[in-house]
Symmetry: C2
Subunit: 134 residues, 2 copies
């Protein structure tokens, strides 16, 4: 799997997007994508082929709400691009991961899935398909 | 600045290193480097030109101890390689950053510095020089 992005939870994308671009001199932010399954909006900042994904809740109860409330937001997960999401998710399950979100369409029409590992220090791994999944 | 690594705080590098290599299929871990200024040991896992830096305290009181105690460890900071660390740190100060660690020699003989941003969702940015700083 190829490292793709670091997920960063924020209360409002607008509050941080320009600030991060200015401080880290990243590429401009992508137009926020509304992920109806995850109930969040996400926007990407280009760090040179690796991305920062800013994630804001767009409903009261979302998969990132408790993290946001307990921590105030911040670094949340690592995401990896896989040739075959189903195969990679299956492998990760065999390695002790628990699927918290089965593969479903997300940003850029990609399949995305979240796997939780009690045995990893960062707990949450996202697996995504390559762009323009058919 | 060029994105270089994600810092991950752990209680023991040995506890996670092999596990992460197995799950994420990363490159093998570097031999841990003892950072006497930061009072930590660090080891790097290659994600394909971007690295995971595992950080463990090697003394009772270290810059990562409170984070480790409060969170149990996890994603901690983002690090960027700069052509001129002093110049980049100066720029980041002008942009509101507070220097929590002035540039000093760290892993791979690099100069490293930590800057805290109240205005960023991930708070802590590390600036490092390129390899083999003279």
């Amino acid at each position: 799997m190829k490292f793709h992005h670091v997920g960063v939870v924020v209360d409002k994308i607008d509050r941080y997007s320009t600030q991060i671009q200015n401080i880290l001199k990243t590429g401009t932010a992508s137009i926020p994508f509304e992920d109806k399954i995850q109930k969040v909006n996400v926007s990407f900042l280009d760090l040179g082929g690796i991305y920062l994904e800013l994630i804001e809740p767009n409903q009261r109860q979302t998969p990132v709400t408790s993290f946001l409330k307990s921590s105030g937001g911040g670094l949340h997960h690592l995401a990896f691009e896989a040739d075959d999401v189903y195969e990679s998710v299956s492998e990760l399950k065999q390695k002790g991961g628990k699927v918290v979100c089965e593969p479903a369409k997300g940003f850029e029409e990609r399949l995305i899935s979240f796997i939780f590992f009690e045995s990893l220090p960062f707990k949450l791994v996202e697996v995504i398909s390559k762009k323009k999944y058919n």
